[in-house]
């Protein structure tokens, strides 16, 4: 899958490969030590630059909704 920053693609693919293996083989089996941080940092730095260039940094990075009062209300119970 493509990255929002075309020059981030190689960093993304390396990170995704590491993460998918770690998630399936370690995390779901109870090992929670992150083994892909060294690949995530350069990938994240690259994506941040792409977000800045598109003026998306504020909207994307600084707001969380899941688990907060900002979630939309669920449908009324029937």
């Amino acid at each position: 899958m493509e990255s929002i920053g075309s020059d981030c693609l190689e960093l993304k693919l390396q990170y995704d490969k590491c993460f998918n293996k770690w998630f399936a083989e370690k995390y779901l089996k109870g090992v929670h030590q992150d083994e892909c941080a060294h690949l995530f940092k350069p990938y994240q730095d690259c994506v941040k630059k792409a977000l800045q260039a598109k003026g998306l940094e504020e909207a994307v990075l600084h707001k969380d909704v899941l688990g907060t009062v900002n979630e939309k209300p669920p449908p009324p119970k029937s």
Partner: protein, 201 residues
């Protein structure tokens, strides 16, 4: 003007398989409208994996809205929390930008079926709202229809991903297996509907 939709889907895969598949679902043959996918943040808090992802998707609009809304793509943020202990995978998805025209937010709960752990149930609800002057109802109806179509495509795409990962022989069209799953899925959806009302708060 607000429209709520609720859906239940069943996957013929274990919760672990669905959790693995959810990270690897793109690209697939049903995801032509998804242009990019990035992990924005990821951390483990009390054993739970918190992730924020950003997607770029194409943005077709109803004819009536085209002259007002010229953005060709829309940005979507997906926040998720995976709890491997309780086997829950919750996602919350929302559009960024374009909220002046329409707000689409969706929450999904992926959990093992209560009685058959070889199945995973996905309960989701969506909140679709548009207050755009004069066109709110048109945009909301259009987006609701498109959302429903995209949910179907999304489920097919996720199944395709999981078939490739865990069930490579599925391409050989095992009709017997499919029929058996259809029966199990129907029963699981009925159970999920009853359970959904308890979870949606």
């Amino acid at each position: 003007m607000v429209k709520h939709s609720t859906f239940s889907d069943v996957f013929n895969f274990t919760w672990n398989q669905v959790a693995i598949g959810l990270w690897q679902r793109y690209p697939n043959v049903y995801s032509k409208h998804v242009l990019s996918e990035d992990v924005i943040s990821r951390k483990i808090i009390n054993g739970k994996l918190h992730t924020k992802r950003l997607f770029t998707k194409t943005n077709p609009m109803p004819k009536a809205g085209e002259k007002f809304i010229t953005a060709r793509n829309v940005y979507i943020i997906e926040e998720s929390i995976v709890d491997p202990k309780d086997k829950t995978f919750v996602t919350y998805t929302r559009n960024v930008g374009m909220q002046k025209y329409v707000t689409i937010e969706e929450k999904c709960f992926y959990q093992p079926d209560i009685t058959d752990k070889s199945l995973t149930v996905c309960n989701r609800w969506a909140f679709i709202s548009s207050s755009f002057f004069g066109l709110g109802r048109v945009i909301q109806t259009f987006c609701t229809q498109r959302f429903k179509q995209n949910v179907k495509k999304s489920m097919k795409g996720l199944n395709e991903t999981m078939d490739k990962l865990f069930n490579p022989e599925a391409n050989q069209h095992n009709e017997c297996r499919k029929e058996k799953f259809k029966e199990k899925a129907k029963a699981a959806v009925e159970k999920a509907k009853i359970k959904t009302s308890k979870q949606m708060c």
